[in-house]
């Protein structure tokens, strides 16, 4: 058996547990806990005049009712603005429970705690809240008119305004470059709202230990360490007295990186106040109206280009619908405006965005985090240039590619981590060549002609993207080899189903030379690892993967040092294979890693046969040295951190073949091909799984998903019956090819893959439907009804 597992398609170790119902999700915990439920605003914009709870007091099993008036100290303040930015001049966040004004349907107003959730909801139904209805601001266009305001003190509903400008060759501004260009185009694009909609909503379960004065909180979160700090701060508890654990989490996709959610601090607060266990499990309707949405943007594009389709200047103006609040800052529009550039050199670039408040659910990152909008913009632009010049769409893209010998390539902008937008590595011409071969781009015209002869309409589309992944500031890893030879790996970031138990174990097994069965992995548990940032931005593998590798290398070095002494060999001659440290080429001169672990920890007490070897009368210990040598620590363990100088940049290119029904206008994806480059692959099967899931969500964004608000700010499709997440039946088989251009920035040479699949799908499907239909598409998603009307307008 080999222990070289890095790069192998190892089957996911967590699946047996997760797919046989052995997973422990938030609502599986705390069976005896009290239940919390919330009265939420039925109005998009209103002033609270009175809250009358008297009718609810008769509900049997009611324990407590809280409004904003009841909240003490820091709890009564607005929730944190997590990522401040100088351009976010008017950042606003909500109160945990509404104070005077509600700004979207679903905003929590009253918290009820009762014996069970049924009774808590019964009590909620009996609480009367009198509102004075205020004029709701719905939709970007209505908001920018600024006639009615979401926040009284935010003029024009503009929360943030940011311009980034990169001059072109010769110092030309984008405007000058466009004006001087042989060809120019100008158009508007629209991207709808969507949302993460993880199958498990949010949830919090808190246990207060009055004797110990400590709090344990379980949360379905993407960052347990930061939730812990937020709870400690909001409740005024010493940090060591708060533990936060992310149990199995049924998907996050970004929404669970936002924290603390109102419930994440209210539930622990109530648990402490009542000295009872309290749990809140978000239901589906709550998730739709009181968590986060994303995607909604209007983009105005001006582009100038030459006869080959080379872009000379690009100006993009983005109106970003930020919903009612900005707890996650302006990360989404920053990513849109920087990652819009993709694999291209665009000459001079000017991008300007305004973050606009509306009386709708707040906008925070959803898998892709602003990139799908940016890529939609850039790829629509490429297709329009190709159409204008009558050139092949892939040729126009190739004419604009950054070339392999141009890395590191500085795009001249500031990225979401506050660091320069410098691409570390990539090979875009090769990726496009692979994609064209995979989908059969050059032979498609014959397929299209044959289909047309049968009365069928087919079209092919393409889309390219670059994704900054593995953003800092850091993650850490801790690795401990115990005297039974087991390897215990922990890292602070959380898991939502990505396969961390597998890939982190692969890294540790490879670095330490042990069988993967000996390795166990714990994530997202502040009892095991207290320092972490979280799981988002396709960063877990890059950040924790490298940190764990570095920690393993420390452990390995120490193991070789100890083993060398025991074997009377030079550590440089030693190898570890299958959990045995041995002299290279001399398998008989060996010592098990388990024994090394025993020897690493000088003991006074023997508790088993193995431990005897480390006790004080057992060995030929040197009399003139302390049992733990200077500079050493007892135990075979290591801790290390990885903090990158900047992000790594993964890339990918997708192509699709679609068929549109000439009569019903139904759109069917016949083939979907992906070429993906995330540097060195830890586990190609898991990367493909990530791509499949991402493409599935992308298909949702391209053909199905939107948040439909009426003019009163009511979300009309707040259920899985009307918010159309694609089923397995709507997701095509996905053909994948991998390209590996290692990242020079980290020891493992890896880049992130978590978000990749979703990013270009809307652009690709728009491109393909356009090709099938010969119409122009400027808005996604597109439904059969939409296509029918586009045909009529042609």
């Amino acid at each position: 058996m080999t222990t070289k597992l890095f790069g192998e398609p190892v089957r996911r170790r967590e699946d047996a547990r997760l797919i046989t119902g052995q997973g422990r999700y938030l609502d599986d915990l705390g069976a005896g806990a009290l239940a919390a439920a919330f009265v939420r605003s039925p109005h998009a914009h209103a002033r609270i005049l009175d809250i009358d709870v008297s009718a609810a007091l008769d509900v049997e099993g009611l324990v407590a009712i809280y409004t904003w008036e009841d909240l003490p100290g820091a709890l009564a303040e607005p929730l944190p603005l997590l990522i401040p930015h100088p351009a976010l001049t008017h950042g606003r966040t909500a109160y945990p429970l509404a104070r005077e004004i509600v700004r979207h349907v679903g905003e929590p107003v009253v918290m009820v705690v009762a014996r069970d959730r049924y009774l808590a909801e019964d009590a909620c139904a009996l609480i009367r809240v009198d509102y004075e209805i205020l004029k709701p601001v719905v939709g970007i266009e209505e908001a920018v008119r600024g006639v009615h305001l979401v926040h009284e003190d935010v003029p024009g509903n503009v929360g943030a305004h940011l311009v980034q400008e990169v001059p072109g060759p010769g110092g030309l501004t984008a405007r000058e470059a466009i004006e001087a260009a042989p060809h120019t185009l100008e158009f508007r694009l629209d991207v709808e709202r969507s949302a993460c909609t993880p199958l498990e909503g949010k949830g919090v379960y808190a246990r207060w230990d009055a004797d110990d004065g400590s709090l344990r909180v379980y949360s379905s979160t993407q960052t347990s360490t930061s939730v812990r700090m937020a709870i400690a701060a909001k409740l005024g508890l010493p940090l060591p007295k708060v533990e936060v654990i992310a149990p199995d989490v049924g998907g996050g996709f970004g929404v669970k990186i936002v924290h603390p959610w109102p419930e994440e601090i209210l539930v622990p607060w109530a648990a402490r106040l009542l000295n009872r266990e309290v749990k809140w499990t978000e239901d589906r309707r709550e998730h739709f109206v009181s968590s986060s949405h994303e995607r909604g943007q209007v983009q105005h594009v001006r582009v100038g280009f030459d006869d080959d389709g080379r872009v000379l200047g690009l100006e993009v103006e983005i109106l970003h619908d930020h919903g009612a609040y900005t707890p996650y800052g302006i990360i989404v529009p920053i990513i849109t405006s920087t990652q819009l550039l993709g694999p291209y050199k665009v000459g001079a670039y000017r991008v300007e965005f305004s973050s606009i408040y509306t009386n709708t659910v707040q906008v925070t990152p959803y898998r892709g985090a602003g990139r799908p909008q940016g890529v939609f913009c850039m790829e629509r632009t490429m297709d329009r240039i190709a159409a204008h010049l009558g050139r092949d769409r892939t040729e126009v893209r190739a004419a604009n590619f950054i070339q392999p010998d141009e890395f590191p390539y500085d795009q001249g902008m500031t990225f979401q981590d506050g660091r320069p937008l410098i691409y570390d590595s990539g090979d875009y011409p090769e990726a496009l060549r692979m994609l064209k071969e995979l989908i059969g781009w050059d032979s498609f015209p014959e397929i299209k002609a044959r289909a047309a002869a049968e009365g069928r309409r087919v079209g092919i589309g393409v889309g390219c993207y670059v994704e900054g992944t593995g953003v800092g500031p850091y993650e850490g890893g801790h690795v401990q080899v115990t005297s039974d030879g087991r390897v215990h790996v922990s890292t602070g970031l959380t898991s939502q189903g990505q396969g961390h138990e597998t890939v982190f174990a692969q890294i540790a097994a490879t670095e330490l030379g042990v069988p993967i069965e000996k390795v166990s992995v714990v994530t997202g548990d502040t009892r095991r690892f207290g320092y972490a940032v979280g799981t988002f931005a396709s960063r877990a593998a890059v950040m924790s993967g490298n940190a764990i590798a570095l920690a393993c290398r420390k452990v390995r070095e120490k193991a070789l040092r100890i083993a060398a002494e025991a074997l009377e060999a030079d550590p440089r001659d030693l190898e570890i294979t299958d959990g045995m440290v041995h002299v290279a080429g001399v398998p008989s001169a060996s010592i098990p890693l388990a024994t090394v672990a025993v020897l690493s920890n000088p003991l006074r007490y023997a508790f088993d046969e193995e431990a005897k070897r480390a006790t004080q009368f057992a060995g030929p210990a040197s009399d003139d040295r302390p049992p733990v040598a200077e500079g050493e620590e007892p135990g075979l363990e290591g801790r290390d951190y990885y903090s990158p100088v900047r992000s790594t940049f993964a890339a990918g290119m997708h192509a699709a073949i679609v068929e549109t029904d000439p009569d019903t206008a139904e759109i069917r994806i016949l083939r979907y091909a992906v070429v993906h480059d995330c540097g060195r692959l830890i586990n190609p099967m898991i990367v493909e799984g990530q791509i499949h899931g991402g493409v599935a969500q992308g298909v949702g964004g391209a053909l199905y998903e939107k948040m439909v608000y009426d003019e009163h700010g009511q979300l009309l499709n707040a259920s899985f019956m009307d918010f159309l997440m694609p089923y397995a039946t709507e997701v095509p088989r996905i053909e994948t090819a991998h390209l590996e251009t290692p990242s020079p920035l980290n020891p493992l040479g890896i880049k992130g893959a978590g978000e990749a699949g979703v990013i270009p799908v809307s652009a690709v499907i728009a491109s393909a439907v356009e090709d099938a239909e010969g119409i122009t598409i400027a808005r996604m998603p597109i439904s059969p009804s939409d296509l029918h009307h586009l045909r009529l307008e042609r």
Partner: protein
């Protein structure tokens, strides 16, 4: 998403069920498959004071296929009817339609009669009953009555069922010889309620000319919209029928509304397309051809 308080009744016989229904009156709601009722309860969109769970009542799950048609009991699940070869032989439209009803797990639990009583104009089974001119048998402590489809569906989610009544079975008549049926629909996703859908039945005469042709349309009115297109077809051989023109006749007879999934214009257009497809397939089936 937890239901408000309600009284639960689990009658063991039909008599007990009818007694409870009589006692609870308008406050009583029957639970059979629960595929619509339970979500309505959980979302607190329905708050009946009493739930009468008839799942333990014996004798209600029958599927009786006779040459005259198929009688389906109140507890016969969609899946059981879909898989019954006898039912499919007596009335092929049942299986054709049931395959379009939601997803297998829903069909395993949901009941045909429950779908009729729920009377969703977007659902398939009300359209099938309406197209075939079937009926629903309603029982109460006072006796039984058989209500024809044309009188049974009274509005969106509204039927002729009165407080105190239990729909014990539905009858789907067979069609005469040289008849064929088909069901075509377009849903946003596989298994969703249809944006538009058309069930068609065509009967040919001895010379294989169209003697009768009818369609029932879903999602284009408050109840399933049945359109007799025999005249529009004319007494012509099915092979030379102008289905596009017939589709136009169907489009003229419907009053669709727009919603978040489709505009009214698209629904009208689509219903015509689907009517032409369903009629063509039904005519092929009537000639004994595979569609």
């Amino acid at each position: 998403m937890k239901p408000p308080p309600f009284g639960y009744h689990g009658p063991a016989t039909l008599g007990e069920a009818l007694d409870v229904l009589a006692e609870t009156g308008p406050g009583g709601k029957v639970l059979a498959g629960g595929q619509s009722l339970i979500p309505l309860l959980n979302m607190r969109l329905a708050a009946p004071a009493h739930i009468i769970d008839v799942n333990r009542v014996p004798g209600l799950d029958g599927i009786e296929a006779r040459p005259s048609g198929v009688r389906v009991g109140a507890l016969a699940r969609h899946a059981a009817v879909e898989r019954s070869p006898e039912a499919a032989a007596a009335q092929p439209l049942l299986r054709q339609a049931l395959r379009l009803v939601a997803h297998p797990v829903i069909r395993n639990r949901g009941t045909v009669v429950g779908s009729l009583v729920h009377a969703d104009p977007a659902a398939e089974m009300p359209a099938v009953l309406a197209l075939l001119g079937g009926s629903v048998r309603l029982a109460s402590r006072g006796g039984e009555r058989e209500v024809p489809a044309a009188e049974f569906f009274t509005g969106p989610m509204e039927s002729a069922l009165r407080p105190g009544e239990l729909a014990v079975s539905a009858f789907f008549p067979a069609l005469p010889g040289r008849s064929g049926t088909a069901f075509h629909e377009v849903a946003r996703r596989h298994g969703d309620y249809a944006v538009a859908g058309v069930a068609a039945a065509v009967t040919l005469d001895e010379d294989f000319r169209i003697a009768a042709a009818r369609v029932a349309c879903v999602s284009v009115g408050p109840v399933p919209v049945v359109v007799d297109v025999t005249a529009a077809c004319g007494p012509r051989p099915a092979a030379s029928a102008d289905w596009a023109a017939v589709a136009g006749a169907v489009r003229d007879r419907i009053e669709p509304e727009g919603d978040i999934h489709a505009t009214a214009d698209y629904r009208r257009h689509l219903t015509g397309v689907l009517a032409a497809r369903a009629l063509r397939d039904a005519a092929s089936a009537a000639r004994g051809e595979e569609s």
